[in-house]
């Protein structure tokens, strides 16, 4: 028997970073929580009739509307006078958040509903077969940005800056996290639900199937994304950057190497340079390198 509010026995792939992160999130929130879940991997592998992995009230409606459904849940709880003590969570994958669900999410932010929105960022439409999303990183080989004789690079767009887009709405709390840092995920979730208003947490969740790495490398690949500077772990409170996880930056190749989706770039120094520049820019922009003047996580 599991004490978790997210039961084992669901049908996620071995090594799925999203299932790990989803369990961390709901267990940090506790039983007094209602979840609205967009369509996607998490929804499909956790709620196939007649079974459900969820130990809290949970609703799935459509691909792009969890933020609006959660807004309705929150409004109904307010009407009933029951909002105090109940956490409302909206959650989705990266496509459901940054692409098709962005409008509903923006509406939820702007209206200031007391909801925590969690984006599980596995950097592609993994559920439908690894198609590119707005959060697919530069250079990734996906089924809709394939490598061919004419197109050698995979995805040529950069990740949509979702944390900054969320922050620009003036919401009180925005954070990024990684399934590879479980305590950090739970600390941020607990912090978010302690704040009234709309909150956004984007969790990097490695996908062995889509990223084409061994299923026992989920944690190490996730860690490397953070440690190279490619996935900075940051927190904004009331619009200001208040904490970052500082790193001794590792070269980006260490992150790219274990993943089949970047295999085509490994012998292409020009492309490695571009990806290293993304990491360097993050390191500079957020002050990720240890012993910089930006406040460390410990001081937050």
């Amino acid at each position: 028997m599991s004490n978790s509010l997210f039961s084992p026995g669901h049908t996620a792939c071995a090594g799925c970073g999203q299932s790990l992160a989803a369990r961390l999130v709901i267990d940090a929130c506790g039983a007094n929580t209602i979840i609205a879940n967009n369509t996607g991997c998490l929804e499909v592998f956790s709620s196939k009739y007649p079974e459900s992995a969820w130990g809290v009230p949970w609703i799935h409606s459509l691909f792009e509307n969890a933020a609006a459904v959660a807004s309705g849940i929150e409004a109904a709880l307010k009407f009933l006078g029951k909002k105090e003590g109940i956490n409302v969570i909206a959650q989705a994958g990266d496509g459901g958040t940054a692409d098709i669900g962005l409008q509903a999410l923006s509406g939820m932010f702007e209206r200031g509903h007391d909801i925590l929105y969690v984006c599980y960022d596995n950097e592609a439409y993994e559920n439908t077969g690894i198609q590119r999303s707005g959060l697919t990183p530069y250079g990734a080989n996906t089924t809709t940005t394939p490598i061919g004789k004419e197109l050698l690079l995979g995805n040529i767009r950069f990740k949509k800056p979702m944390p900054e887009i969320a922050n620009a709405h003036g919401i009180p709390y925005v954070a990024t996290a990684s399934a590879a840092f479980p305590q950090d995920v739970q600390r941020k979730v607990k912090k978010a639900i302690s704040i009234r208003g709309a909150k956004y947490i984007q969790i990097h969740v490695p996908c062995p199937l889509g990223w084409r790495h061994a299923s026992d490398l989920t944690i190490s690949v996730g860690k490397l994304a953070v440690e190279t500077g490619l996935y900075p772990l940051i927190e904004y409170e009331n619009g200001k950057l208040t904490a970052v996880r500082q790193i001794q930056p590792k070269p980006v190749e260490e992150y790219l190497k274990p993943q089949g989706r970047f295999k085509h770039l490994l012998n292409n120094p020009e492309q490695i340079k571009i990806i290293q520049a993304i990491a360097d820019n993050n390191i500079e922009k957020y002050g990720l390198r240890v012993k910089t003047e930006v406040k460390s996580e410990a001081s937050s």
Partner: protein, 394 residues
Amino acid sequence: MKEFLEGSRAVAEAIKLCKPGVISAYPITPQTHIVEELALMVAEGKLNSQFINVESEHSAASLVLGAVATGVRVFTATSSQGLLYMAEVLFNIAGMRFPVVMTCANRAISAPLNIWNDQQDSVSMRDTGWVQLFAEDIQEAVDFHFMAYRIAEDKSIMLPVMVCMDGFILTHGIETVDMPSQEQVDKFLPAYSALYKLDPQNPITMGLVADPDYYTEARYALHQTNREVLDLIPKVTKEFSGIFGRVYNGLIEEYQTKDAQRVIVAMGSVCGTIKEVVDELRKKGKKVGLLKITAYRPFPIRQIYEALKNVPKVAVLDRALSLGSYAPLFSEVKAVFGTKKKKPQVISSFIAGLGGRDITKDSIKEIFRLLTAKELSGEFIDLKPELLKETYEQ
């Protein structure tokens, strides 16, 4: 109490009496007056409700879905493009068996852009699983909303209901309306208590995946329940009559059909015009009548059969098209008779009143004139052939 009210304002007053806890909408002409009025009621403290302005109709429908799932009575309203934008959510609301009530201010669909009345919007949503009730006048629009909540929230039904009222003609028209008292409405419509809801005290999972082993049965059950609404509506209208005094059939209305030789089948506000023409022609000794369809979904097949089986000539008037095929209402009325022994000799199809073109008494007389032994398939009334002759440089 009888009041002289604009249709939208009257509907807003009716909704207030139904006490929805959450209202969400996105503005679209000609629905706006309804939600503006409700927003004002909330602002003035006359209505205790969460009024949520959203960024789209898709989110308006999704928001009320989330609220009703949490156990609260909800309301939304839209029209035309807004209804189409909601389409995906409409299917979902019905599939999840949520008793949402919505007003559709019927309006044409783009292109070309047109803000005026026809019924293409809700007719195009006929397969969503929503009950659709078409109002003839403002009083019906008001009364149908009370019934809509009763039908939707019936524990044996749990389906969404759309009250369709012709845009501008009814939403912006002004008529004398008998507004019931709060006591009457409370007696007819008890507070909403959900069968299932999102509640941490009793966690359930809603909106699951159903694979091929289960999907068919879920949809079959939805279909069966939809058919059962045909049995529920007469019970609801009977109870309604007992409290409010107004008598409705709720499925169809037969107007001078008993001995009629020629009958027009129609939906919505045009039925008022047809009744006037029927009265005039009856005075001249012509045996004509009207069959008003109130419930477009579920479609009252048996009642339509009984009403028309002995009528020799039937005209079906559509204010919508199914491009490239038979007009929508016509094809369904036609299908009612199929291989039945008793049936009209002629069922002709007429299309009129698209994009706000008035259907006048002369238009109706023209339909009766054209309703002869020769069956017509999709005859446009009041078409302007001169506009079709314009030529363009290739």
